[in-house]
Symmetry: C2
Subunit: 371 residues, 2 copies
């Protein structure tokens, strides 16, 4: 057969599959109605596993592929049933009750010190709020819980101050929500109380920043000294002649330093992401990003059928991360960010369906992210 003939044959097969697929979805809706009347659960694991085993056997050399295809078909069918039944009451209620108005926090808890990159993120997100500084993540959550601060700002990527896992653990522990986010370019400047570059003999900074600017420092032939933070380096340089700090322009301004050189990092493109967390769910009208956490059992293809459902709803992942669940072999928590809004009924339906089907499911927030 020629390629054209083969393609024509494939097109006919595809038409047949589509027809059967749509019939199957129509049946799923009827199944939903029967299940509603009889109060039966949507997910029938025994039946699904039996169908998968049967199909895998019947498909011979394509058993693995057929299994995935049917896992997918059944997930879509469940989806249609959940949608027909309005599943996920708890999440639906929480989203309905969430505040729609961006709050104007009076005070915001922040990691590190005056002039830190976290402080810069806070100033961009909440320019009118008073920053309150804390040395670690748990103190920030405690401050928001006991009302010392209205919100907290924390780095969640490229951070040397703690791990992202710790942030997620704390969000789940405190049952807080993500209310906004910002992504900042990490750009170091050389800042000093001196006004001329050639006067600088020693450059202070955090070891990571020193590494990021190693090429620049070598070329300049200056010696370097480590500090515990870039903001700390700025503070130190403000008090000592013939020294400079590698820090953000924000930090230089905080300590009244002159900026002798800009963008001195060896390579561009490093960004750090910060989130703001609060006690209450807040979903501003322009919210365009959703964060979730859930576990999937260690069965081949389980993650994939969940992702298929995001894809089927036209939702794009912007982040995915897996993490082994401590104490349970081969079970994983997944952290996902995707673009979308719960104001879209289809998106809300999907999340509500998943909230019923997945263990350890948490809706972490629907917010907007500044660049």
């Amino acid at each position: 057969m020629t390629l054209e003939e083969l393609r024509k044959q494939i097109d006919e097969i595809d038409d047949g599959i589509l027809e059967l697929f749509l019939k199957r979805m129509a049946c799923a809706k009827q199944v939903a109605e029967v299940k509603r009347q009889k109060g039966l659960p949507i997910f029938n694991e025994t039946r699904e596993l039996k169908i998968l085993d049967d199909v895998c056997r019947k498909a011979g050399e394509y058993g693995g592929q057929a299994r995935i295809l049917y896992a997918n078909l059944m997930a879509m069918s469940r989806e249609a049933q959940h949608s027909a039944l309005g599943s996920g009451t708890e999440l639906r209620q929480a989203v309905l009750k969430a505040s729609r108005f961006p709050n104007k926090p009076r005070s915001v808890a922040c990691l590190g010190e005056k002039g830190s990159y976290s402080h810069e993120a806070l100033s961009r997100l909440y320019p009118e709020a008073e920053p309150v500084f804390f040395p670690d993540f748990p103190s920030i959550f405690a401050a928001v819980e006991n009302g010392r601060a209205d919100l907290g700002v924390l780095p969640v990527e490229n951070s040397s101050a703690g791990s992202v896992n710790e942030v997620y653990d704390l969000i789940l522990k405190y049952r807080f929500s993500i209310v906004s986010a910002i992504s900042l370019s990490v750009r170091h400047c050389l800042a000093s109380r001196e006004t001329e570059l050639h006067e600088i003999q020693t450059v202070y900074s955090h070891p990571q920043a020193l590494r990021q600017c190693a090429g620049y420092l070598k070329k300049r032939g200056v010696s370097s000294a480590e500090c515990s933070s870039t903001a700390g380096a700025a503070k130190l340089a403000a008090g000592k002649r013939k020294t400079a700090a590698l820090c953000s322009e924000h930090a230089a301004a905080q300590y009244g330093l002159n900026i002798l050189d800009r963008n001195v990092q060896d390579s561009d493109g490093n960004r750090t992401r910060f989130i703001a967390i609060g006690q209450n769910l807040l979903i501003p009208p322009q919210a365009n990003k959703i964060s979730l956490c859930f576990a999937v059992p260690h069965r081949t293809g389980t993650l994939y059928t969940v992702l298929a459902r995001f894809a089927a709803s036209g939702l794009n992942l912007t982040k995915i991360e897996s993490r082994p669940i401590p104490g349970r072999n081969f079970e994983y928590d997944f952290y996902l960010d995707f673009s979308g809004s719960v104001a879209d009924p289809k998106t809300l339906d999907l999340l509500c369906a998943l909230s019923e089907e997945l263990t350890r499911f948490s809706f972490l927030g629907n917010y907007s992210e500044l660049e």
Copy 2:
């Protein structure tokens, strides 16, 4: 209709879909043969996108679902074609030429200092090798490249010494491979030159370890002081009376300290994963873990169709992480670990197919991981 009648109807539909699916796969094989004869590429993006758009339109309210279903069918069809054609020659050759024998490295580069958790990982992986210590990731790669060390050991999770991204960037930059891995529980002990707990007044450690043991220290009523590492704390405590360090037992042994208390961290379950990297691809016979890196274009469902293919081959993901590609909006690199071995022809076929289809595809290694 009753549930039983509906299910019978669904079963019949499923039989029909399976029949058509198997016909489609048979056509795909014939397409592969025609393409081989004519030297045509397997992936025909224009045709695939047109089919997806058509099917999406025809499926009405289930357009999104139908699109995913067909993206999946076409990916499986490509898979069958790649397999029939033996695609991915470059990767196939590299795997064939890889050494099968675990090497006995004489010296291994290691992050940090004597007694660090990295040092412990190295000692467990290569008990007979001489450790050589370096302060950062780039120095370790340089040492392996210039032959000062045969291999390098680096932490790739929960690490405060640098980011996982940095490790992956360096592996790709140097074109190194992952040759082994180990996962260590992070367990701190209280170690001192003193022999009695009540003599301790000050406890040294890295800020992260101090936080991890904050509850314990509070209960004991001792003051704490920060050091740059847990091993550094052990060294310090060895030289000063009435002090102790929070460090690993390995570090305590390195500095001849008495272990006054064990497992003093507030919660268990923290593990750090370490990998060993080398210049050459080494695939030991018992290798059971594969690491990959690749980019997918920002089109809905692209990641998902790749994961579907892993699932169809029965391969279980053990780790997935996304990372925005610097300078390119909405394009992502993915880092994946999954259980498997390239000695399995089906697994190798899948990787070879992906190596042809995905941009920025890198096979990082096939190794075994100690617990």
